[in-house]
């Protein structure tokens, strides 16, 4: 098996430490927006990154091929592309493929070749009962762990991840993201402390249509990782963000838990608070902590997790990393810094700092549940700000 840690972790650290800026934007009415605003917002937090990683996730960007899995693959050699395409042809029906258009800029050095494939998994050679999603996830893991110099960094339907080594605004320029349209955008600027930076190691991290951007260092990494390994996840990248992405995949996709519950697992209330709750709620948190305690994310973090229909901004339970939320009509913003939100949307209905460990969840209208929720309570543009609940 190839060792991705050599690429992403040249010094063989126990994990790659990086700190960051994150930004998210969702139009809960489903209206598509160009990348212009998000690029402006994330570039306003330039100082939070150091040019060793930037990236974007866009939902709703491939409406004409919405039924196909869009695989974004980076190749560092021509041979790796040949090998990967043989694999793809064997296990997928490729409906369309092309090189992702790029616009070379002086800042971006030595980029990999980046291709996208719109595919359906082939059921031939499969002798078990398995869902399309599970099958695609398995094939993606296979490519990422066994084909040298090839890396699948996006694999959802009607969504795409674009990322690389550079400041986020440079990555946006390189991929021409101003001309992409989506109803959810998340963005990331990275400050790794010592790695040289590898294109695959930039955020967002993605599996199927789930993406994660992350700012922080998860001190429970060792415990989280060993728990996930028990469920078959191979943590090749040595980053805590990878662990968050897999934990979301395990809990939300495989164990079918709602996103609120996933966040409650990541940052549950402390026992002193749980002990004061009503029976049903107390039993809920007790059960979560008993069964999923190893996935409690301890240490400082702020994350934005997205998949089709939902965007979630979340912090650790004692809020050691910044997160601000803003509201303007149907649009929800989440950001490391308030200034970035105000820069692109000066007339906000509301802007607030969510309570630590209380996720802010934005949902597409029409999906059951309230459109915008914080800590389990609906948030409306006109409602007064509640502090410290």
């Amino acid at each position: 098996m190839k060792d991705l840690s050599r690429t992403n972790n040249p010094y063989n650290d126990e994990k790659v430490i990086s700190q960051c800026s994150i930004f998210g934007m969702m139009d809960t009415s489903g209206k598509l927006h160009s990348g212009k605003q998000v690029i402006t917002a994330i570039s306003n937090m330039h100082e939070r990154g150091n040019g060793l990683g930037g990236g974007f996730a866009i939902y709703g960007c491939y409406p004409e091929r919405a039924e196909d899995y869009a695989l974004h693959i980076m190749y560092h050699t021509r041979a790796s592309r040949d090998e990967t395409e043989v694999y793809l042809k064997r296990f997928f029906e490729i409906r369309h493929s092309e090189e992702i258009p790029t616009f070379p800029t002086p800042a971006i050095k030595n980029p990999p070749d980046v291709f996208r494939y719109f595919v359906q998994p082939k059921m031939e050679e499969v002798h078990e009962i398995i869902s399309d999603n599970d099958l695609v996830a398995r094939r993606v893991f296979k490519i990422n762990t066994s084909i040298d110099n090839a890396y699948v960094f996006s694999s959802g339907k009607d969504m795409g991840v674009f990322k690389g080594v550079g400041f986020p605004e440079q990555i946006a320029e390189f991929f021409g993201l101003e001309d992409y349209y989506g109803y959810i955008w998340t963005a990331h600027g990275r400050f790794p402390t010592n790695t040289q930076g590898w294109w695959g190691g930039a955020h967002p991290f993605s599996l199927l249509d789930w993406t994660v951007v992350h700012n922080g260092e998860i001190s429970s990494y060792g415990a989280n990782r060993r728990f996930l390994e028990m469920y078959g996840y191979v943590c090749t990248m040595h980053t805590d963000t990878e662990v968050v992405a897999y934990a979301v995949d395990l809990l939300a996709r495989k164990h079918e838990l709602p996103i609120e519950t996933v966040m409650d697992i990541f940052s549950p209330p402390v026992w002193e608070q749980i002990d004061r709750l009503e029976t049903q709620e107390r039993e809920y948190f007790e059960a979560l902590r008993k069964v999923y305690g190893p996935l409690l994310l301890n240490g400082p973090f702020a994350i934005i997790v997205a998949h089709h229909g939902e965007m979630v901004a979340h912090t650790d339970r004692i809020r050691l990393r910044p997160m601000v939320a803003g509201l303007s009509g149907d649009i929800v913003y989440t950001s490391s810094e308030e200034s970035s939100i105000r820069l692109i949307s000066p007339d906000l209905d509301r802007v607030w700092i969510p309570v630590g460990g209380h996720p802010v969840i934005a949902r597409l209208k029409g999906i059951p549940g309230h459109d915008i929720v914080e800590g389990g309570k609906p948030v409306g543009g006109a409602e007064p700000l509640e502090v410290g609940n």
Partner: protein, 499 residues
């Protein structure tokens, strides 16, 4: 009979300080001291001294100094004083040498070769005086996943027990230790919110009010067992083995079986209480499975069933089988685990260090994908809160402490538990000696110990930027090895310091 043994310890009395109050004479249960009225002097029989330090501690004028006898045979790296003395004892008696407490040989203590991490810059450390620090621990089988139905969690059907701190009192039976010591452990565990273990000597009725803090043992002797014995407790533990004497049973001499002990153990007064080496209904893994399920049936599946083994060479494979056989808690007792009485040759030579066994078992259970089916408890050689922290980071859910708890009650590890003469009143049934442990004070000392270690564990968590013990459990990245060879690092699953 003339003996060729030399006294192990020297008793020095400062005659200027001695006031001849004869406290030493009354306190020494090993018959070291006497008073020679004709000459008005205290006399010593040094050959009886065990260095328990009872006399020195209680001497009101600090007149006594008990130290190693510095006699020497001709120095010899092979034939040490201990080997020569043991050999002569056996030539004189023709018997198996007995001893008490855990292995005292200098086998490598891995705790002392493991260092703990702290946070600097990229993640902040947390001050336990300002922020919540959570030690709450649950023992028992956990399901692989939870299910939601109509927005509500489906009920978990696996029972578990809650601990305030991941430290429990290990199995020490009433009989091996005195009633006052036993009841102090029960009360302290109850008061602090953790568990104590009855050992295999039954469970006195009047202590059943501490049931929610009690683990009852089902060992090969099956002493004191009836349906209430199980159902009044919080956890049932099947004892297969003990770290100090893997593979052999136990023997409580008849002279220790008083009326109360006889009632508690359900055996005739004055009769020897013999625990066979194996359970005679467990000769294989499937037999164990049957006993586990018999106990679950007997307790209506309301409580976890634990299985305790000593840490032996193939512990990982055995533990994996135990989990599959239905054990909700696995207990590993290591090479340095204590005992009331064991053949010295076994205590010092059989079994493996708990650190290595723990790491190997945790790794195996994870590789098999069954680690969450059972909790992992370790014992045998835990000396302080850092040892507890390291054990948890290697993968343990909680630890048992035995010797440290006895030390809180007065024990000085003189290793004479098997004589029944414990001068500190702990491992004896002599009423003159047992009253030396006051259960009120004993309870307080034990609670103090739990509190002090728990506070220290919170400091260790905080310095690593972690505020909940579950984020340390199995988090071996918090540890680094020092002075270890590669195979040892590999077995422990940790990196070397600086790596």
């Amino acid at each position: 009979m003339l003996t060729s043994l030399l006294p192990e310890f020297t008793v020095e009395r400062n005659e200027d300080r001695c006031i001849q109050c004869r406290v030493c004479e009354r306190q020494c249960s090993f018959d070291v001291y006497g008073y020679d009225g004709d000459h008005d002097v205290m006399v010593h029989r040094e050959e009886n001294c065990v260095a328990c330090q009872r006399c020195a501690v209680l001497c009101p004028t600090n007149a006594l100094n008990i130290s190693n006898n510095n006699y020497t045979y001709k120095p010899n790296a092979n034939w040490t004083r201990e080997h020569i003395q043991d050999l002569k004892k056996q030539a004189e008696t023709g018997g198996v040498l007995l001893t008490g407490m855990g292995c005292d040989k200098p086998h490598k203590i891995y705790w002392d070769h493991i260092l703990i991490n702290a946070s600097q810059v990229t993640n902040p450390s947390i001050d336990p005086l300002r922020e919540p620090m959570e030690l709450r621990t649950f023992l028992g089988r956990k399901p692989d996943h939870l299910e939601m139905k109509d927005g509500k969690l489906k009920r978990m059907d696996t029972p578990s027990v809650q601990l305030t701190t991941p430290i429990m009192f290990g199995a020490m039976s009433y009989g091996a230790i005195s009633y006052n010591s036993f009841s102090s452990l029960a009360r302290a565990a109850y008061e602090y919110g953790t568990l104590f273990n009855t050992g295999e000597g039954g469970w006195p009725k009047e202590l059943r009010k501490y049931g929610k803090a009690t683990i009852v043992q089902c060992a090969s002797g099956r002493f004191g067992i009836d349906l209430d014995y199980f159902n009044d407790a919080a956890v049932v533990e099947i004892k297969i083995g003990q770290g100090a004497k893997p593979g052999i049973g136990g023997h409580l001499p008849g002279e220790k079986v008083s009326e109360h002990i006889s009632q508690t153990r359900m055996i005739p007064e004055g009769s020897d209480a013999i625990s066979p080496a194996p359970h005679h209904d467990i000769y294989s893994i499937e037999d164990l499975q049957m006993l586990i399920h018999a106990l679950k049936e007997a307790t209506d599946y309301r409580m976890p069933v634990s299985v305790k083994i000593s840490a032996v060479h193939n512990a990982p494979a055995i533990a994996s089988g135990m989990v599959r056989a239905g054990a909700d808690i696995i207990v590993l007792d290591g090479l340095r685990g204590g005992t009331g009485a064991a053949p010295k040759i076994l205590r010092d030579n059989v079994g493996i260090p708990i650190e290595l066994a723990l790491a190997a078992v945790d790794t195996r259970l994870r590789n098999e994908g069954v680690r969450n089916w059972a909790s992992l408890v370790v014992s045998g050689g835990i000396r302080n809160s850092a040892d507890v922290f390291k054990a948890i980071a290697l993968g343990a859910d909680a630890v048992y402490i035995g010797t440290p708890a006895l030390m809180a009650l007065g024990c000085t590890v003189c290793q004479k538990c098997y004589t029944g003469k414990c001068a500190w009143g702990i491992t004896t049934q002599d009423p003159y000696l047992t009253k030396r442990v006051n259960p009120e004070i004993g309870t307080r000392s034990l609670v103090n110990l739990l509190r002090a270690w728990s506070l220290e564990i919170k400091e260790l968590l905080g310095c690593g930027g972690i505020n909940s013990i579950e984020s340390v459990r199995g988090n071996r990245l918090q540890l680094r090895g020092i002075g270890l060879e590669q195979w040892e690092l590999d077995t422990l699953g940790i990196r070397g310091a600086g790596q």
